[in-house]
């Protein structure tokens, strides 16, 4: 890499810190002492990628190894890409500024479907051919993927050499051990993949064939070789308490999306909300002990200097010893002005004492997620919170002096009617009234109640995986309806672009035939689709048309019970029978209790044993 050239272009682009590296706690190694060079690739900009916990864990876990050097690479923003293409600078990793072609493995994390176009763009900027079959010789790094989207990564099957299904902490060592051995022995790529496919949790898509019927549904998913498993079972960390967790996390210079220390308190969720993919994928629930968390918290704060610690999980209030944990942490941290952040707090767990404790040092915005406007619909999705829960939480927040509250809903949920949407506006009105009833006498401000709606996207491995998504026109009609009914004093309404949710639905439940659409969309200039100013929906429509792909088939069609789904050869632990049962209960409006109150039979304990 010509560093003067790089220096010159960095002087011209916006936010050059994105490409600079050299942050505190960045790992430096002598590449002559290294056998495996791994590039952890996040297909979005630096400030998004650096906020991601999986990157922090895997970066440090790999760098603990003497034989491996893990570096980072992010999607360059469009201005940087333009300069790179103009000057011939290839995509490089932040640590050594070496180009990706020099690496053994490039590992992409697949966090959201709308980053897929960036993966192709990054491969192109690196000078790496898109399709796995065009990368047979060892000039090219191995391209691997992990993260939640790998549970159905079929639209990316042509581009990746292998996927890691499930939690990476253990698998990554088995994979790197194998790679290191194979590299020393000069094993070719096919044989390496053959061996890799024997590691539980490793999915090599080229070893499977998918056949389709005339109606475009899948006829069969077949193993091409006898040495691959018929189903790839996800991997999990059984003993989370003793699992590796980094304490010397990189501290970025620039203001990233979540600019604070993160402590993952537990994995999984017992609630069983029927729309929630994470709730199904990350089962079973595994907690870290309070002692371990307090020890980690202290070490993380000492080694990063952050003044805010976020307790992360899918549903923070479900941690079994949360009140004790928070009390202890606050005792340790209050003097040093370190505040706690508790994202994902449930409405039904928001008590006055608790909130006062948490927000002693610094006060942040409050968001509640009722998800749906009526009890009927909240029961359909098994959200399990009531209007009383919301009223009580909101009243508490106002009593404690909050004036800004955000309520988050989804529109387009199964069985939704306009009555349910009216329920959103009724709730908004009640929240505003509640402010004037409960605000302390010293607060003379008016409240701001923000209602935010996203468009429901049916996801694989959820009870709603068979559901047809609302059309864009239906979403727009619902948004207009809400705009009209949310013209309420002190209420703001914002909504997500339904066209993006439509694409998300296509790719979330897509199959291998969508790979060519991704290439075509990339050719037409699609990238950074999640960024409103870059999103080119007309080009996506063009790409589907050019590839002869019927989007209705993927996004809006209701799937049959006996249909082979593109992800049926992936085993996430929850059984298809359980998901179907939950789907039927949803349509009947029946609640399913939290699995801490008794097993609901999802199948995860049959796979991994133990109580969950």
């Amino acid at each position: 890499m010509d560093k003067t050239l790089l220096d010159n272009i960095m002087g011209k682009v916006s936010k050059p810190t994105r490409y600079m590296g050299n942050e505190y706690n960045m790992v430096e190694k002598d590449i002559d002492d290294i056998n495996i060079r791994f590039a952890f690739a996040f297909p979005d900009v630096y400030e998004v990628g650096m906020s991601h916990l999986g990157l922090k864990i895997l970066y440090h876990i790999m760098n603990e190894r003497g034989d491996t050097y893990c570096e980072r690479v992010f999607a360059p923003w469009v201005d940087m890409e333009e300069e790179m293409r103009k000057t011939g600078i290839k995509l490089f990793a932040l640590e050594t500024k070496d180009e990706l072609l020099k690496f053994d493995i490039v590992g992409f994390t697949l966090q959201y479907e709308m980053s897929y176009s960036n993966i192709l763009n990054m491969l192109d900027l690196a000078g790496i051919p898109f399709e796995s079959r065009d990368r047979q010789d060892d000039r090219y790094p191995l391209i691997i993927g992990g993260g939640p989207c790998v549970y159905n990564a079929e639209p990316l099957a042509d581009f990746f050499d292998l996927f890691v299904i499930g939690e990476g902490e253990e698998v990554i060592h088995e994979l790197l051990d194998l790679y290191g051995e194979c590299k020393k022995k000069g094993v070719n790529k096919f044989d390496f993949l053959r061996y890799a496919a024997q590691i539980p949790g490793i999915y090599v898509p080229m070893f499977y064939d998918v056949h389709y019927r005339d109606d475009n549904t899948i006829a069969s998913i077949q193993m091409k070789y006898p040495f691959v498993p018929p189903k790839i079972q996800k991997r999990i960390i059984k003993d989370l308490d003793n699992a590796y967790y980094p304490t010397d996390m990189i501290v970025p210079f620039m203001d990233i999306v979540h600019d604070r220390a993160v402590l993952e308190i537990f994995r999984g969720c017992t609630r069983g909300c029927r729309f929630c993919q994470a709730g199904m994928l990350y089962r079973p629930v595994r907690e870290r002990s309070k002692d371990r968390l307090e020890d980690l918290a202290k070490k993380i704060i000492d080694s990063t200097g952050y003044n805010e610690l976020s307790l992360s999980s899918l549903s923070t209030s479900d941690y079994s010893q949360l009140e004790d944990l928070i009390k202890d942490l606050m005792e340790n941290f209050e003097e040093d002005r370190i505040s706690l952040a508790l994202p994902s707090l449930r409405i039904d767990s928001f008590s006055k004492e608790f909130v006062e404790e948490v927000y002693k040092v610094r006060r942040t915005g409050l968001t509640f997620a009722p998800e749906a406007g009526t009890q009927r619909l909240r029961d359909v999705i098994n959200k399990g919170v009531t209007e009383e829960d919301l009223s009580r939480s909101v009243a508490t927040a106002f009593e404690l002096g909050w004036t800004n509250i955000k309520l988050y809903f989804m529109i387009g949920l199964p069985t939704e009617t306009f009555q349910d949407l009216l329920g959103i506006s009724t709730l908004a009105r009640k929240v505003v009234d509640s402010f004037y009833e409960y605000r302390p006498s010293n607060i003379n401000k008016n409240p701001t109640v923000t209602i935010s709606t996203s468009s429901f996207v049916p996801k694989p491995f959820t009870p709603f995986q068979w559901v047809g998504q609302d059309s864009i026109a239906q979403f727009e009609e619902k948004q207009e309806f809400l705009q009209h009914h949310l013209r309420i004093k002190h209420v703001r309404y914002d909504w997500h672009d339904p066209r993006l949710s439509f694409l998300e639905a296509i790719f979330a439940r897509g199959d291998r035939r969508l790979g060519k659409v991704l290439i075509r969309a990339w050719e037409l200039g699609c990238k950074f689709d999640g960024w409103a100013e870059q999103f080119k929906f007309d080009m996506w429509q063009q790409a589907f048309k050019d590839c002869n792909i019927d989007t209705y088939f993927y996004a809006n069609r209701v799937r049959e019970q006996d249909e082979i789904l593109p992800w049926d050869h992936i085993d996430a632990g929850v059984s298809k029978a359980y998901l179907w049962r939950e789907y039927e209960r949803a349509l009947a409006g029946e609640l399913t209790h939290d699995c801490r109150e008794g097993c609901t039979g999802c199948g995860i304990n049959a796979v991994f044993g133990g109580v969950c």
Binding site: M10, N22, V251, M254
Partner: protein, 227 residues
């Protein structure tokens, strides 16, 4: 107790913004367990005042911060402790206690000294600088939030001299106005020179380095560390 520290920003981290620098130092102070005084209010912040933002892309061996610590400590211990936990590329060069009654650093500093590396704009750069400074007015376009505004920078340039020559580039040293009411970014100076020489600025990427800041006190120019 009030401590003034001089610090540097080198090539490795020169693209960080002023805010980034402040954050990096706040966090370094926290990692080093320096008992920094905090402001009150809903969002308390550490009491460290940074003198004049360094333009992005500029290296420096002459940055200053003004630190309030809760209880007395040895300034050189602060320097050692913080340096061991700062990101590579940022370093405290010196630290000393100053009188708490003195006004803020920003209100005392009036000038900054830079070294600038540029290609030859003409064959005889000494002569060029002479002619450049002999202009009565040097009018430039300054981009502000409200749009582009004309500004005369002649009175903001106090010295200008070539200090090194290579085959195709030179390095010059310059003292520029750097004060609360008016502050001349050396980039604007180089743009004005390029315009005077009738040369396209964009093709001649200059490199900037800030060396020092100066305060006028008791009829002489001193550095903040000499307060």
């Amino acid at each position: 107790m009030r401590i003034i520290a001089k610090f540097s920003i080198d090539d490795r981290v020169k693209y960080i913004s002023h805010l980034d620098t402040m954050r990096a130092i706040h966090r370094g102070m926290a990692r080093a367990n320096i008992p920094i005084e905090f402001s009150g209010g809903f969002n308390p912040h550490p009491k460290i005042a940074f003198a004049f933002a360094l333009p992005v892309g500029t290296t420096s061996t002459g940055e200053y911060m003004d630190i309030e610590v809760k209880h007395p400590m040895d300034p050189s211990a602060l320097k050692e402790r913080v340096n061991s936990v700062l990101p590579k590329g940022i370093q405290i060069l010196a630290a000393r206690e100053i009188d708490e009654a003195l006004p803020s650093l920003t209100s005392m500093i009036e000038r900054a000294e830079y070294r600038v590396n540029i290609p030859y704009l003409t064959d005889d750069m000494d002569d060029f600088f002479q002619k450049f400074l002999n202009q009565k007015n040097i009018i430039i376009d300054k981009k502000t939030k409200k749009g582009i505004r004309k500004m005369d920078i002649r009175e903001m340039i106090f010295s200008l001299e070539v200090i090194k020559k290579w085959e195709s580039r030179i390095e010059f040293k310059t003292q520029l106005m750097c004060a609360g009411q008016s502050n001349l970014n050396p980039e604007l100076l180089v743009r004005a020179m390029a315009e005077f020489a009738n040369i396209d600025y964009a093709q001649h990427l200059p490199k900037f380095h800030r060396d020092e800041m100066y305060i006028y006190r008791n009829n002489r120019w001193i550095t903040p560390l000499e307060l």
